[in-house]
């Protein structure tokens, strides 16, 4: 019987994959992909708890706001990455250690 723990384990695996991606990537866009994985894991957790432990929809609402904020975050972060690329011709997080040209 599939229950709450199964979904939490899936979300945990997604979260761990996101953590690994954020920590191991040198490409700034790769790091952003990891952040999106982490946000998805959090949203899955909220929906799973909402489905199995409450009668309301608060968890679903929280996930709505997570998705909205993730969209805003992705837009701004990718704009910053593009601006950095135009100025420095590089988006390797390992080499981006200066705020000037």
């Amino acid at each position: 019987m599939i229950g709450l723990p199964h979904f939490l384990v899936v979300a945990g695996l997604l979260f761990a994959a996101g953590v690994y991606t954020v920590l191991s990537r040198r490409n700034a866009i790769g790091i952003l992909m990891g952040v999106e994985l982490i946000l998805n894991a959090a949203g899955l957790n909220f929906v799973a708890f909402n489905h199995y432990t409450t009668t309301g929809i608060q968890g679903g609402l929280f996930t709505v706001f997570i998705i909205v904020l993730a969209a805003a975050e992705a837009a701004v972060a990718l704009a910053i990455v593009l601006a950095i690329y135009q100025n420095l011709r590089d988006i390797d997080a390992h080499r981006l250690d200066s705020l000037q040209r």
Binding site: I2, G3, L4, P5, H6, L8, V9, V10, G12, L13, L14, F15, A16, A17, V19, Y20, L23, S24, R25, R26, N27, I29, G30, M33, G34, E36, L37, N40, G43, L44, V47, A48, N50, H51, Y52, T53, T54, T55, I57, G60, L61, T63, V64, F65, V68, L69, A71, A72, E73, A74, A75, V76, L78, A79, L82, A83, Q86, R89, D92, H94
Partner: protein
């Protein structure tokens, strides 16, 4: 093993394997495409959790929006012709240790906790209630979120556009390395 369980394990396999490709691929383009399948798998899991509206949002916003924007950014910042090494990896053992540690901690918590479960789970769709809540009790967060999106998009446009050169720089040679307009 009912149909529900089979579908759950299929979606889990899709989601987790795609996430592993995102995490491990040396090619950033493969990572981006694997991200699409990860988000589709999560949308399927939302359907299993009776969150119909959220599944639709997930597909529209994540698959239709965020991954497309990410892939655009990949195309604009790297030479796709030589994509094989666009996703270099740093500190692989330490990162793996951190990720496994985080997962083990959460596994201990998940298996060791006594969750206050509902006696019976309802599979009624949540769209109608979500709409009533967003335009009723949660109206202020809803409006703040829309303002935040507006501000974020304006900010993104301002940050990402090319710097406008003054008239005295118009006759200067085009900057080196700027290939093609956007």
């Amino acid at each position: 093993m009912g149909v529900f369980d089979v579908v759950f394990f299929a979606l889990t396999a899709l989601t987790v394997l795609s996430a592993c490709v995102v995490a491990g691929s040396r090619n950033i383009v493969y990572s981006g495409f694997a991200l699409i399948f990860t988000f589709l798998g999560v949308a399927g899991l939302y359907v299993q959790l009776a969150a119909d509206f959220l599944a639709a949002m997930q597909v529209l916003v994540y698959v239709g929006g965020i991954t497309v924007v990410i892939l655009f950014a990949v195309m604009l910042t790297r030479d796709i012709g030589q994509a094989a090494n666009t996703n270099p990896i740093l500190n692989r053992p330490a990162s793996l240790l951190a990720a496994v540690g985080v997962f083990m901690m959460s596994l201990v918590l998940i298996l060791g906790s006594d969750w206050p479960l509902r006696p019976e789970v309802s599979h009624a769709p949540m769209s109608a209630e979500l709409g009533r809540a967003l335009l009723g009790k949660y109206l202020l967060p809803f409006e703040v979120a829309s303002l935040l999106l507006l501000g974020a998009l304006i900010g993104a446009v301002i940050i990402a556009r090319r710097e406008v050169k003054g008239p005295e720089a118009a006759d200067a040679a085009p900057a080196a390395g700027k290939e093609g307009g956007r």
